[in-house]
Symmetry: C2
Subunit: 201 residues, 2 copies
């Protein structure tokens, strides 16, 4: 009986692992740096998790559970399998984003055994609500990585969408709560993007 | 002076973060599950890191540093930016794989500040040499994920390469050192792949 219960857990976990393979097909608005294609959510999640590790010395808080940060970053976009990627400057899409993503989180993490469903759903919620140090530091990477990609790729995505400096500043200035140092570096990038004509003044 | 040193570290870290974007273009031999494209190394690294987290209760060892496992899985394929993806059943490619990857690890992790170069180079080496519990558990996911993908995608990659059951067993049986439970599940998958004609008896 104990063994059967165990196998059952593994099967649920494998069903989740198979389902989330779809994240590799959810396209985002940023191009990868060589400009050859748009990034997908699996690639983005990998990149920001590595960034969180490499840049951890610059975070605003001393005691941060880095395993929790990395977990959050690896799983927070999984909801986009059902809800799609909502572009940060799409006001209409962002109006019902939370509702769509909550339903997605319930279905997708619901494939897991109950205890894990609860753990990962709450982890997703914690990130969305930005209520912990871990969520605030994780947010820095999630928000700023697309700016890095757009800048390094020559501004193509910003130009396509007619993005202005004000739009970028308004959406991202709060990331300094998670890391003032990293935000300051990105301010320099944004100002240079204006000079280069990638974003409107 | 202290501030300048600090900025210097951040610049080195950003150079590394920009360089590893290329991992999103390193194509592997497995198709993603919907069969629409071959997987790349960034997608693979994301998938196996999530798998390591979700399946951690099945690992062979009680005390495992999970942050170390996830770090390893997220960075171990970065060497393929220079060395390329070496197919597991390519005997010729595997003959000089270590040499090519060591040079790549030196160049790529060498972009980081010295202490981080050392940390990440050693983490890569630890995974390659399979000398720790963390490396052994990480290896389970890295080895078995392509089997899951090939099986769920209908065996296309195995058929293209004429892969046999013996070839799969020889290359992967050692993963049971990291998790007997997960290996047993994959034995079932491999046997079913034979029945379905995806791999040769
Ligand atoms: Ca998102």
């Amino acid at each position: 009986q104990k063994n059967k219960k165990h196998i059952n857990r593994l099967e649920k976990q494998m069903a989740f692992i198979i389902e989330i393979d779809k994240l590799k097909t959810i396209q985002r608005q940023s191009y990868i740096i060589d400009g050859s294609k748009k990034e997908n959510d699996a690639e983005h999640s990998w990149h920001i998790a590595v960034m969180a590790l490499i840049l951890s010395e610059h975070k605003a808080f001393k005691k941060v559970d880095m395993l929790k940060v990395v977990k959050m970053l690896l799983i927070h976009d999984i909801v986009e399998i059902d809800a799609g990627d909502t572009y940060i400057y799409d006001e209409k899409g962002n109006a019902d984003k939370r509702e769509r993503e909550e339903a997605a989180a319930k279905r997708l993490f619901g494939l897991l055994p109950k205890d894990q469903k609860k753990e990962y759903y709450n982890l997703w919620l914690e990130f969305e609500d930005q209520h912990s140090k871990e969520a605030k530091y994780a947010n820095v990477l999630d928000r700023l990585q697309p700016i890095l990609l757009n800048y390094e790729a020559g501004g193509q995505s910003w130009i396509e969408h007619g993005v202005s400096k004000d739009m970028i500043m308004n959406k991202n200035v709060a990331t300094q709560e998670g890391s003032k140092k990293i935000w300051q570096h990105f301010e320099t990038i944004i100002n240079d993007a204006v000079k280069k004509g990638y974003v409107k003044e």
